[in-house]
Symmetry: C2
């Protein structure tokens, strides 16, 4: 098998053909990750930070050519892609700063207590070690921020892991270029790249690989999660499999209906709806004034290009399926394009009581929205309870509405991030971020794939009991590397 | 199916018959856990701490009757069981103290930054919520510390989870009694108990259960791990499946050979070898003076009683299997018992070069030890690399031995705790403890089942974006409960 870039604006293939990595190439990539692991994982954090910053600088220095090829492969547009490179290098530098400060890797020491059991104990020093060589699967919709040098790879490298990345077939040239720029700044073997579905599966199945990270579709992610767990030696698999994100407007939540409707459509159609944080379902009170606004504004919204034919086809299939589950009105935008992979934006509007429960679980990844109108808050809460885990949720309401707390409790119970009077798209890269949530938002609900805590996915605790400090410290960090 | 207590010292059944919990009873237990979850999980930490301390006090107040029944069911002896109750209540109180201090549950706040992307962001407050109702599987070898009110249950309750515990069939009366004492101090539904293998499986499969915790055999734990992962909605499963723990003596590591041999046998035979932290394999340098001591001292060691017939049978089978994998000498202790489930202590001694790799992975849970002699440290390290993940490991050596660091690196890379000049048995309950490790030591190598960090297994991060402080705080904690 092989893959070639396709311009989604024209549907035409272009550029070099990437053959799937052979078993020998996959073996070589893992071999390199294993061979380079001892030195990289015990290098001092400042050494790894220096390398990460050099990678970030090199990516920034190549931003124009990176954006150019990514735009041809994904159709996401140069402004968005330029911003995404900036986000990617910002994120790499943040991880470098975090390990330099000692975040997440600072040891905890319990001094010895000379007392009878159970209170007495020897000295215990709890610290962390890198989990081992890991595999990272690139995502289609973020060719930089969730791909070869995205948050998964950057956090794994910062933790001291070595990484074999699997390129996403929607942007092989971008992946290859990012890899070449980044790997030149890293020790041999610390970062490798493979192409091809089978190569990815082989990686995850290799007994030398100790963890996997993935951002992508539910079907693909679940298949990989199952592979990781069926191994003789199962390994952690951090999958972000997508999300149906609820946004709730309580009465009075939208003080300016036209602006609210515009903001809703902007969030829904951002990146042609190809964000896992899009406001999939808007719950609005019966008779609210935003509905007529949404209905009229959607008619003026034009189609954008999908990332790939596969993305468009899956979206169209899910939209058609949603249509069978919803008994309501449909409002459709424009599609003025004459070529490439596009579909007109579309919004379904229906009373909450008419919707089949399955409609609450279908993610139509693309320019499709669902607005459900409700009569009372109990009805709303009962419907929210029928939804699956979500990456994010929002509530729009006056702060003194007595229902805010109970609705927010339900949202916090089902999602990884809850926003107040703010739209869910836009995931800041900070220490306090959480981009995860109950399945299927994440296969590992205790972890985030965005923000500094993402490092913890690749660090395993180890306790040193009664160790002389100098020995313990040399075991964890190669002092000569400093 | 049903179960009745068996006295392992006599082989005789005694006491009430416990019928396996029916599907209706299991459903009722989960229903209670679900119904009580919202109030318990949002109760203030001080409310939960008060309840946990009341549970600990009640168990302490009943220590004599608890120890009496546990001793009849497990044969572990009253001194050990008295110590174990003390450890159990100490641990419960430690978790209560931790949440009262705000450990693990204190929020992290990133103040809003008014700047262009990617640095600018709204206020983000990252905190944790209880993951939901959980199931805890009791262990055979710790009827208190790893059972109905053991570390798993105590940490889950502290986190705000509600718990359905599954009693271990080796000590149903102890389990029932602990449950009755503890549940009287907790709100209705917060803690339930079920009996029976099928009941346990149903629990783990119930879509309302959000996590599982287990300490026990590799086969049983793996089967439950697979169940948890095959669900439509997979859930975290924290299994501690046992361990083959390496202990390394480098040259000069044993300054007093008779005392070293005694300490080794004490650690190996503690609790009749039924500890997951036993020194399974001792690596000793060729020609060291401890070998003759071990060989002579083992002859004087007498058999102790196993926890159950099942434990003895599995041990005997594994010991026989080990014998086929080792080409060396065998030294056997005494067995002066005339009734009950016993086997004489036994130690295999062989050169490291003669051992089949499989022998490095067989855990003979009981009074069986393996001593492998090595010629040079490279040979030792190559053999350690063939072992699987371990809960714990030890190195005995002079601190200035140049090989200490590289051997310790290998031990840290394969185990959850490494001790210097100290035996692996005895797991202190402190903040710095780690009782876990790469599979099969743990199905979740990032987590510990002993020590304060055990709480984190049951806490899921949630980020609140742009939330008014008062609302956020009410969502997480029911202020009226304070």
């Amino acid at each position: 098998m092989s893959v070639q870039s396709v311009n989604p604006r024209t549907g035409e293939a272009f550029g070099p053909v990437f053959e799937d990595s052979s078993p020998t190439q996959v073996d070589g990539a893992v071999g390199g990750a294993v061979a380079s692991f001892p030195a990289w994982s015990t290098s001092s954090p400042s050494v790894r930070a220096l390398a990460l910053n050099a990678v970030a600088d090199a990516l920034d220095a190549n931003i124009e050519s990176l954006v150019e090829i990514a735009d041809l492969e994904t159709g996401l547009g140069k402004p968005r892609l330029t911003g995404e490179v900036g986000r990617t290098t910002f994120q790499i530098r943040q991880f470098a700063d975090a390990i330099t400060r000692g975040d997440f890797i600072a040891p905890h020491v319990d001094a010895a207590i000379d007392a009878p059991l159970p209170a007495g104990h020897p000295e215990l020093l709890r610290t962390t070690v890198a989990i081992g060589p890991v595999v990272v699967f690139g995502a289609s919709n973020f060719p930089f921020a969730f791909s070869v040098l995205g948050g998964d790879t950057a956090s794994a490298l910062a933790a001291g892991c070595t990484v074999v990345a699997k390129a996403h077939p929607a942007h092989p040239q971008t992946s290859q270029k990012v890899f070449e720029i980044a790997s030149a700044k890293l020790p041999q073997g610390v970062l490798s790249l493979v192409h091809g579905v089978e190569a990815g599966k082989s990686l995850l199945h290799d007994h030398r690989i100790t963890a996997g990270a993935f951002t992508g579709s539910r079907a693909g992610g679940r298949a990989l999660f199952d592979l990781a767990n069926k191994r003789d030696t199962p390994i952690p698999f951090y999958g972000e499999l997508g999300s149906v994100n609820p946004v709730v407007e309580l009465k009075g939540g939208a003080t300016d209906s036209p602006a609210f409707a515009t903001a809703y459509l902007d969030s829904l159609l951002l990146g042609n709806g190809q964000f896992c944080t899009n406001p999939s379902i808007l719950f609005a009170p019966d008779g609210c004034t935003i509905l007529p606004e949404i209905k009229s504004q959607i008619l003026e919204r034009d189609a954008s290009v999908f990332l790939s034919k596969a993305t468009k086809d899956l979206h169209d299939k899910n939209r058609a399926h949603l249509a069978t589950l919803i008994d309501g009105e449909v409002f459709t935008g424009k599609n003025s394009s004459t070529s490439g992979f596009t579909s007109a934006p579309q919004i379904f509007v229906a009373p909450i009581t008419s919707v089949k429960p399955e409609a609450l679980t279908v993610e139509a990844f693309g320019p499709t929205g669902l607005v459900l109108t409700f009569n009372d808050v109990d009805e709303l809460i009962a419907t929210l309870h029928k939804m699956e885990g979500a990456l994010t949720s929002s509530i729009f309401a006056p702060a003194d509405d007595p229902d805010v707390i109970r609705v927010s409790k339900v949202l916090a119970g089902m999602s990884g991030r809850v926003s107040f009077n703010a739209w869910p798209t836009g995931v800041a890269v900070t220490a306090g971020q959480n981009h995860g949530g109950p399945y299927p938002a994440s296969t590992s609900p205790l972890h985030t794939s965005v923000g500094l805590s993402a490092i913890t996915r690749f660090l395993r605790p180890v306790t040193f009991q009664s160790f002389p400090k100098a020995i313990q410290s040399s075991v964890i960090t190669n002092q000569e590397g400093k």
